[in-house]
């Protein structure tokens, strides 16, 4: 990792793995497999074969069938397609939808848009650890409920939801269950052959694949119909038109294959790094962890220190690259809606820092982060008015 900066923002995006780069390069340029995979000539069929192979690689990682996967541009699009597509497909049966306040904006904004179109949305609050209380979901489901969406791993805090229990409840009540798994695919074990999940969103750039490519899993169990949200060339079973980007899909396939072999070791690696990081900052006065001890993805640690301006804290931490709130909210300056839903004050939420690490992170990176975090907190407190 370059020493120009210390990158600890893996939850925002990950560096593309060398194996993935190789797979992508093989699809670029005149000598690569560049042809439109929809073309019936030799060159097109070569590209189509690469698409098929990548779909099989991703299916193998997820424990599902290739035909259940639709290529998209990423988790945001997958979320939109799943939520909007499923809600509209079942609107004649009912227009009640359920989600959580701690979801990514790609989910909450889609639900808000549907609410303006006549759907009714029930927003569930997390417990103090960020978990959905399954009993509250049970009470919220009605006769006209058609879809529940709960993310697998929270992008800000790392909190892990019990998607098995949530999915089983939904299946028992004949309600579709969608999960945004952008932060868990490739990092945690997911077997869609036995998990009661109907729709799952993922994106390649969170597990060492390229940005700009993702997928939507649609179960073939029961009747999970999804209507398209865009129209055009009929690709991907008419659900997601547009020429398939062969190089990106090849990259995602390679990332999936890599994840299958390295996932367990990566999990051990990030677990050790998080323990080291927390051990180095736990005694900072006023610090609280926003990441639950148990039931969290160990590659994320979110902490707040009281009495610190978040922007000043971040500048003081340079050259360590971390996130203050969701990456997607990083330019808004607004306090994290996730942390506010967990009961943190605006000032605690704005002073939160999310550390996230991965295969390329080292103990040295963590030690630099500890030193810069401690320095920055001390620096900001030294400048602040005496309470």
């Amino acid at each position: 990792m370059s020493r120009e900066f210390v990158y600890l923002d893996y939850a925002a995006t990950t560096p593309v793995a060398p194996e993935v780069v190789d797979a992508m390069l093989a699809c670029l340029g005149r000598k690569g497999s560049f042809a439109n995979p929809a073309s019936v000539h030799i060159a097109g069929r070569r590209s189509a074969a690469i698409i098929d192979a990548a779909r099989e690689q991703l299916a193998a990682l997820l424990g599902t069938k290739p035909e259940c996967l639709i290529w998209t541009s990423g988790a945001t699009e997958s979320n939109n397609l799943a939520i909007r597509g499923a809600a509209n497909a079942r609107a004649h049966r009912g227009r009640h939808l359920i989600s959580m306040r701690t979801e990514h904006k790609a989910v909450t904004d889609t639900f808000r848009a549907l609410a303006k179109e006549g759907f009714e949305v029930t927003w569930l609050n997390p417990d103090r650890n960020g978990a959905l209380v399954v009993d509250e979901l049970r009470q919220a489901i009605r006769e006209d409920t058609q879809l529940v969406s709960v993310m697998h791993v929270n992008n800000e805090t790392g909190a892990v939801q019990d998607i098995r229990a949530i999915g089983q409840l939904c299946r028992d009540r004949k309600v579709l269950f969608h999960t945004d798994a952008a932060q868990s695919v490739g990092k945690m074990d997911i077997d869609l052959d036995e998990l009661p999940v109907d729709l799952l969103s993922l994106t390649g750039h969170k597990f060492y694949g390229p940005q700009g490519i993702g997928a939507l899993f649609i179960t073939d169990y029961g009747h999970c119909k999804v209507l398209p949200i865009a129209y055009g060339g009929g690709q991907e079973k008419r659900l997601r038109p547009g020429t398939l980007p062969v190089h990106l899909i090849a990259g995602l396939g390679a990332a999936a294959a890599l994840a299958q072999t390295e996932r367990a070791e990566n999990l051990r690696h990030v677990t050790a790094l998080r323990q080291r990081l927390w051990a180095g900052i736990a005694d900072v006065g006023g610090i609280v962890s926003n990441t639950p001890d148990a039931d969290s993805y160990p590659g994320i640690l979110n902490v707040s220190s009281d009495g610190i301006d978040g922007e000043s804290l971040m500048l003081g931490m340079e050259p360590v690259c971390v996130a203050s709130g969701s990456a997607c909210n990083s330019t808004s300056g607004e306090a994290s809606h996730v942390l506010r839903a967990l009961g943190r004050s605006d000032s605690e939420a704005q002073a939160a820092v999310r550390f996230s690490f991965g295969r390329g992170s080292s103990e040295q990176d963590i030690d630099v982060a500890i030193e810069r975090y401690r320095y920055s907190v001390e620096h900001c407190r030294t400048l602040a008015p005496i309470p």
Binding site: D309, E311, L315, G333, S347, P385
Partner: protein, 126 residues
């Protein structure tokens, strides 16, 4: 290549080493303190001046807020030290914002500098 760094060199230098941060250390005929805050953005500025015979001999700040606010506070202290107290009335946040390349959406925070300076001036009788 467009530089998207939100902090220019002066902001970075003053944030890293704010020479005028802290509390009044010397003995003066008058020590005046202005404590102003802006609830919407959660920023707060404390400006303290040590005054002898109408001259600001020492001026210090404490700030809770973004790096631009901290840099602006340090900058204004540097400009006011060893100046007549009348200078407190002519603090201009627009000039500060321009010199420190403060993004438009944050220029409102620098009004705290003007508020604190004006309050100090009122306490000094100008």
């Amino acid at each position: 290549m467009r530089d998207s760094d939100p902090y220019n060199n002066e902001v970075r230098a003053r944030f890293e080493n704010p020479v005028h941060a802290g509390d009044i250390e010397g003995d003066y005929a008058e020590v005046l303190v202005a404590d102003v805050s802006e609830s919407a953005q959660g920023a707060r500025l404390v400006l303290a001046a040590g005054i002898d015979a109408g001259i600001i001999r020492e001026i210090r700040f404490r700030a809770f807020g973004c790096p631009h606010l901290i840099a602006a506070a340090d900058s204004i202290c540097e400009a006011l030290v060893n100046q007549p107290v009348a200078g407190l009335a002519s603090v201009d946040s627009n000039q500060l914002a321009e010199r420190l390349s403060v993004p438009v959406r944050k220029t409102g925070r620098l009004l705290l500098i003007e508020d604190a300076a004006r309050l100090l001036g009122e306490k000094a009788g100008i």
